[in-house]
């Protein structure tokens, strides 16, 4: 097999990857897209096997190493993909980011150790200057991705004793200065490696990058995890592209940049939905300014009702919009909600779901959770598609959501001013299910709860919805 043919096959694989992303523009085409992705990966791996066979000549033992690694890793991946609960998707994704990051670091180390084996041609016995620079970039991005993702994983799962794995942000004085100094040191070592191709600066640089990854993520609170997960998604792509540069492999560059830009776009969308600036996210430590606005917490009267009242109200309306939040998923109430929806539809009520971009703990998380409960995706609407309809809606049923329906976002001076919200307050009636009157992530009181047309139903979401189900019969 000639090298030209190998590269052409790699091109074919790259096109498959683009098709895989393109397929996701609609649920109907998405499965075909995923098949394209798998095909692309298969082509890439088989081509590489053929390339190894050609390059290694008689000594074929190298392939055994490859297959050994694949069986172990692939087996682990398959088991995880099968077992993972949909509520745990953010953890799985964070875990996978760390795999990519670490893998990129390992490859870079191997490339520095034996450049010729990876197809880097030496100039005067040294790695060419350009490749040295690219190896440096690939390594530090990979290392930051790895350690950052490990911290993000810990924060997301939230059940580790270790302080750095807990949801609450860790802030200390001079944090940004420390990060800056470390980053400069790392760059310095990079330049040193760049000039001399020695192991010492390479190893120091790698160590600093691992520490930096930790430092960037620890000051970020649990509520901001959707942004962090998307940001690390982007980093993992850039790490792959960096490795592609150092190995002169265009397929790695293409795939890496697709992933990198995808993650960047998702972070941008998440930032907008949470009303944060993109740059403060990139620089890290952006969750720090929160938590000071717990101010007016005097008990104000709310109208509360029972499940029977809710059932009566829902059963006698023409149109209902359900606003699910992560509280719904925590209570595992999706299936009960789905049954309630079916009963209401059978009674001739129009039922729709309204999803805020940050419902759930990662982009699109709530959609997957609803899909898992077999809610048809054409009942589920994105914020911008349904916001104009709230005015004509009889009842809005808010389940386990708070900040995303807080009208304070329309009041200048409020901490969440400017954040896009679901305009639930425009509906004729609002029902809110919460466990208690505690405030949401942003620590703000929600005006919506005190409106005359709002009825609060306190209790566990699953229990409440099941009671409504009984009452609807």
């Amino acid at each position: 097999m000639s090298m030209n043919f190998v590269v052409l096959l790699y091109l074919l694989a790259s096109v498959c990857f683009i098709q895989a992303l393109k397929g996701l523009s609609h649920p109907n085409t998405s499965r075909l897209g995923n098949a394209f992705g798998m095909a692309g990966m298969t082509i890439a791996i088989l081509t590489t096997v053929a390339l190894i066979l050609k390059l290694s000549g008689e000594a074929q033992s190298g392939l055994l190493n490859v297959f050994g690694g694949m069986v172990v890793g692939g087996g682990l991946g398959a088991v995880m993909a099968k077992r993972v609960e949909m509520t745990k998707m953010p953890e799985l994704v964070a875990f996978m980011h760390s795999m990519i990051g670490m893998s990129a670091v390992f490859i870079a180390v191997a490339a520095v150790a034996e450049p010729t084996a990876l197809g880097i041609e030496l100039v005067d016995g040294l790695i060419p200057v350009g490749n040295r620079f690219e190896l440096f970039v690939g390594t530090f991005v990979g290392a930051i991705t790895f350690s950052g993702s490990v911290i993000a994983f810990g924060k997301l799962s939230g059940n580790y004793k270790l302080r750095i794995f807990q949801g609450a942000p860790i802030v200390f004085k001079g944090q940004h200065l420390v990060n800056l100094v470390l980053a400069l040191l790392m760059l310095g070592c990079g330049v040193w490696f760049f000039m001399t191709q020695q192991w010492l600066p390479f190893v120091i640089m790698m160590a600093i990058a691992f520490v930096l990854g930790v430092l960037i993520i620890i000051p970020i609170g649990g509520a901001d995890m959707p942004v962090v997960v998307s940001m690390l998604n982007s980093y993992s792509g850039w790490a792959a592209a960096g490795i592609g540069f150092s190995l002169n492999n265009s397929m790695l560059i293409i795939a890496g940049s697709l992933v990198g830009s995808s993650g960047a776009i998702l972070s941008y969308i998440m930032c907008k939905a949470m009303n944060r600036s993109f740059f403060s996210v990139i620089l890290g430590g952006f969750g720090a300014e929160e938590g000071s606005q717990t101010g007016s917490s005097e008990a104000r009267p709310v109208k509360s009702g029972s499940a029977d009242d809710v059932a009566f109200l829902l059963g006698n309306s023409d149109s209902v919009v359900i606003v699910p939040g992560y509280g719904l998923a925590v209570a595992r109430a999706q299936h009960a909600v789905k049954e309630m929806t079916e009963k209401l539809i059978a009674k001739g009520v129009e039922v729709r779901y309204a999803i805020h971009p940050v419902a759930g703990r990662m982009p699109g998380h709530m959609n997957v959770l609803l899909a898992e409960a077999e809610v048809a995706y054409d009942q589920v609407f994105e914020m911008e598609d349904i916001n104009s309809d709230f005015g004509q809606t009889d009842v809005v049923f808010v389940l386990g959501a708070n900040d995303v329906v807080n009208p304070a976002a329309r009041t200048p001076g409020s901490a969440i001013y400017g954040m896009p919200i679901l305009e639930a307050y425009k509906a004729s009636n609002v029902i809110v299910n919460k466990r208690s009157m505690a405030s949401g992530y942003a620590g703000l009181d929600n005006e919506l709860f005190y409106m005359d047309k709002t009825m609060m139903v306190f209790g566990d979401a699953k229990k409440v919805v099941e009671d409504i189900l009984k009452a609807l019969d």
Binding site: M70, V71, A113
Partner: protein, 105 residues
């Protein structure tokens, strides 16, 4: 004529690929953003190509250990990423039987 530095060619590919990625990803429906993340996880595991070369063609102990470890880590994502994406996308399939049931009630 002077030979163009391969890094420059890589840079051209890089810029164009970001451009393609930008436009393709904006077209992804928000409902599928979680599958998008898991599939991009699988796609970025394309570093497995470099890992395979490292595992198979290096001769020193260090190179081989690094290579095999990299192959194993990337394989987790290749297999896990695509399978979990498929699992999620299956959930978004329309359920014709269920719909018919609902209509007949």
């Amino acid at each position: 004529m002077e030979v163009i530095n391969p890094t420059i060619i890589n840079l051209i590919i890089f810029v164009l690929a970001i451009y393609v990625g930008y436009h393709v990803v904006w077209n992804v429906t928000p409902a599928l953003h979680t599958p998008l993340m898991s599939v991009t996880n699988a796609i970025s595991a394309i570093v497995i190509v470099g890992a395979m070369l490292a595992a198979a063609l290096t001769e020193t102990m260090l190179g081989q250990i690094m290579g095999v470890a990299a192959v194993a880590l990337a394989s987790v994502n290749v297999v896990g990423g695509f399978l979990v994406t498929r699992r999620m996308l299956e959930m978004f399939k329309k359920k014709p039987k269920k719909v018919a049931e609902g209509a007949s009630k």
